[in-house]
Symmetry: C2
């Protein structure tokens, strides 16, 4: 049997057990099997994920008293309040109770809607995340953030609801399109720059194998990234300042996505450009040139698609609408040195407009 890494994330409501590796279902069954024993169990997934990976669930679900599969659409289309309402109706009709269980199996969107549905059904039932994408395994499935999108605003309605367990099967990543891995690596190097210098070295060293989807390279990287994320969440469960470090690259990244109508660029690709822009601001605040250049080179090797045409006023307006803002204005996560970041709230309107214009003219110059 392949090696499976086990991590724990302690949060105010209990502990999340995290299993990462190849063939995780057998060892995870020792924990998840008894948790499902005699319970009605709801599986939230997409038709595509069910076809690809549904077979892996069969032995895991054997101890449940009843299993109800709730299919949702791929991607952000699943993250709607009406979809949550439909799932709740189905769960009530199927006799769901406070001690029923839910399993969310899929990418970040499935985890977000599944976690939200579990978090609010009868004021919260326990659930397990089975992330099937690299992005969800290294980031979204860990930390209890759940949400749906309302109107044009992403993740505008949600709750913090930690899963009882996260099962990250590395072999699932073999079915991902190439661009998905590239986009997810942007989030990994984000965490690496701010939290874990060794992880940054690992990605620099093994990038070709990672982009190839080699499981021997992916498994230890997922473990390191999940560990960095879990430790951060433990230190800051309610997402006050420290956990907001993970928003590095997201202040502009979200605005780019919104301005592009969530098309043309993947989330991770928009974040890659957002990080390049944040590096500019960080450089002006004394972030070391050689580190900025090293980081830029790594982003360059990810080779995101070219930045589509965007305007300074459009991006500024999108940022002003962003929920991450407060009454006090925009917060920027900027690297301070390797493995450490800070929240800067002192970026003035003029500086921002000037730097944005320069960035749009030449995104790749950060120093």
């Amino acid at each position: 049997m392949a090696e499976v890494e086990r991590l724990s994330l302690r949060h105010p409501g209990g502990t999340t057990r995290i299993f990462i590796g190849r063939e995780v279902f057998e060892p995870a069954r020792q924990v998840v099997g008894p948790w499902l024993e005699g319970r009605s169990t709801f599986v939230v997934t997409t038709p595509r994920v069910r076809e690809l990976h549904g077979g892996s669930l069969e032995r895991l679900l054997a101890s449940a008293s009843r299993v109800h599969v709730l299919e949702v659409a791929e991607g952000e289309a699943a993250k709607r309040l009406e979809v949550a309402g439909e799932l709740w109706e189905k769960m009530l009709a199927a006799g769901g109770k406070r001690d029923s269980r839910l399993i969310a199996m899929g990418g970040g969107s499935v985890g977000d809607i599944g976690g939200f549905v579990a978090g609010c059904f009868l004021r919260g039932i326990e659930y397990v995340q089975i992330p099937t994408t690299l992005l969800a395994q290294v980031d979204a499935a860990i930390g209890g953030k759940t949400a749906v999108d309302l109107g044009a605003t992403k993740n505008s309605v949600g709750v913090f609801h930690h899963p009882a367990a996260v099962l990250s099967e590395i072999d699932f990543l073999a079915t991902l399109p190439d661009g998905e891995v590239r986009a997810a690596l942007a989030e990994v190097i984000k965490m690496a720059l701010l939290l874990d210098p060794l992880l940054l070295e690992r990605v620099e060293r093994e990038l070709p194998a990672l982009l190839d989807g080699a499981p021997e390279a992916l498994a230890p990287m997922v473990v390191a990234a999940a560990k960095a994320k879990a430790r951060l969440v433990e230190r800051d469960p309610a997402e006050s300042d420290e956990r907001r470090m993970l928003n590095f690259g997201h202040t502009l990244g979200h605005a780019i996505e919104a301005e592009l109508g969530y098309e043309q660029l993947r989330h991770g690709e928009a974040v890659a450009y957002g990080m390049l822009f944040a590096l500019r601001l960080a450089r002006r605040r004394g972030f070391e040139r050689s580190l900025a250049d090293r980081f830029r080179k790594l982003v360059e090797r990810l080779a995101p698609p070219p930045l589509p045409p965007l305007s300074v006023p459009g991006l500024l307006a999108a940022m002003a609408r962003d929920k991450k803002g407060g009454e006090g204005g925009l917060a920027w996560v900027l690297p301070e040195k390797l493995g450490e970041g800070q929240i800067a709230r002192d970026v003035g309107a003029e500086e921002l407009a000037d730097e944005l214009a320069a960035f749009l003219a030449d995104p790749w110059t950060v120093v």
Copy 2:
């Protein structure tokens, strides 16, 4: 200035400050004023409550940067997922952020929808409860339970989200219809029997003044009931067994309400009958005859309307649908001795059907 009682409720996410008395707004302003300082503030209320009591808010809200009033319908009509969706849309359109504030001012329904909207907006913003009914002041506003109704099931979707503060203005109770006070007293004597013998004595002694709505009688009773509830919530924040004590009378009470289509009887009146039925089951398990009789007499003095015609099969089916059930069947909260209760899961189908038939034939005989 009138005397105002201050209580604290410590929960996993912080502390709820509770103010109870006549003219609470002045002392509460010392806490709530700084909390609102410079924030966008959303006030969830009904047109009727706004007309009756909106003026009391003016000085309290003076420190907020902006105030947006969000009106909802009276009663359960406000507790719908679509209503929550509309409020979230309005809050986003008004520029609501993670550090915005929400105030829910009204009865239990306003507190439920307002708390739910606060609990999920951008994964949770802080809020304050200003309960304007006796039922909300003694029970619903304290403990962080929020919810909307989905389909025919009450409180089927919600979260635990504790308010930063609860402001219970006793003088607001003067505007309540007579029946509301009677129904709320049923919930008070429920808490008294299971948690606080002194509160039971107080209600027995002062019932005429309480039913008259005398503020001198109401204020100390609201304080005692709120204290009993707060201590229970502190001991059991996530509502495992201990907090379920508060479901005394609710297993059958909810079924009666559901079978009557939430008409004819108020919630507290249905609970009064539910308690009488639970007393029957408790008597069969050895609960003292004289105590059961004493409690029955107190319920009798509340003089709920006669129990409308109901059927044993209808009530059994309604109970089977109830979310409070688990995979293991119905849980009954039964008094064991004065000030203490237990959860009984050993009430068999035959016993239940027999006792229900006897109860429907003669609800008032419990011994």
